[in-house]
């Protein structure tokens, strides 16, 4: 960020495509433990809640979906 020149052309286009995939990758990474196992059940249900809310394209609604999912997951697991 400090040393790179401001990108242009195809590089800028490709860089502009990266945020959503990187966030999706980060979300996935948090669901897999370092031992290669899946995260706790309540965490998975919270994630499902956020995914269900994601078409609304609102961070607040995703957080609400996640909280509701976590509450349900805690009851189940």
């Amino acid at each position: 960020m400090a040393f790179l020149p401001r990108p242009g052309g195809r590089l800028e286009v490709v860089l502009g495509r990266m945020p959503a995939p990187i966030f999706a990758g980060l979300a996935m990474l948090t669901l897999i433990t370092e031992e290669g196992a899946l995260a706790d059940g309540a965490v998975l249900v919270a994630t499902l809640g956020a995914l269900i809310a994601s078409p609304k394209r609102s961070l607040a609604i995703c957080l609400v979906g996640g909280i509701v999912g976590f509450a349900i997951g805690t009851l189940i697991f």
Partner: protein, 207 residues
């Protein structure tokens, strides 16, 4: 929460001054937890330095993604780079135009920095958070899904995001040594195919 967990884990290993100093000067949760893990396993300086370099490689790509949104002198950008975390990167990319990526990166970075320092000190003082660890684990996937939904403004970007999630899972499962780089590797790979038409990226920028 994570600062407290770090303080609790690090203090018995490296002592109070180094625990607090590491949070003040490194300010990277993933790296600090990794360093503590390596130290507890008896790793030496080369392993610690290699881990630090590898873990922070992803910030090169994140910095490149943010670069078109960040102006000013090299010194100013270097200062802002200190606040670049996975989370602040997300907030900066998703920031509405009027808020500005720079200001969002700076403000969210300062808030995270202060919270991390307070959390570390609380952990060093012996506070336990075992009751809310599970909730803390749920915060990040939910946050990143929310940020992905903001950034995925077109059907193509949604498909790229889904592909990146699948690729990340594959790397995390089959190449666990480079799992911390998996999201960035996947992000780069799925962003490359396609034309150089800027409309898709510009729509993404409006997220």
């Amino acid at each position: 929460m994570f600062g407290t967990l770090y303080g609790t884990a690090a203090q018995p290993l490296v002592g109070t001054p180094l625990t607090i100093a590491s949070s003040m000067f490194i300010f990277s949760g993933a790296l600090q937890f990794a360093l503590i893990g390596l130290l507890s396993a008896g790793a030496g300086a080369p392993a610690l330095l290699l881990t630090a370099g590898t873990l922070n490689l992803r910030h090169v790509v994140m910095g490149a993604v943010l670069r078109p949104r960040i102006g000013g002198s090299r010194l100013r950008r270097a200062g802002l780079a200190f606040t670049l975390l996975d989370e602040t990167f997300g907030f900066a990319v998703a920031a509405p135009e009027e808020a500005g990526a720079e200001r969002t990166l700076f403000v969210s970075g300062i808030v995270c920095y202060i919270a991390w320092q307070i959390g570390t000190v609380v952990g060093v003082l012996g506070a336990g958070l075992s009751g809310v660890e599970k909730l803390a684990d749920a915060v990040f996937p939910v946050l990143f899904i929310g940020l992905a939904s903001l950034a995925a403004t077109t059907g193509t970007l949604v498909l790229r995001a889904v592909a990146a999630a699948a690729l990340t899972a594959a790397v995390a499962l089959f190449l666990p040594d480079i799992r911390s780089l998996a999201p960035v590797i996947a992000g780069v790979l799925v962003a490359l195919p396609g034309s150089a038409d800027a409309s898709e990226a510009r729509e993404g920028d409006r997220a």
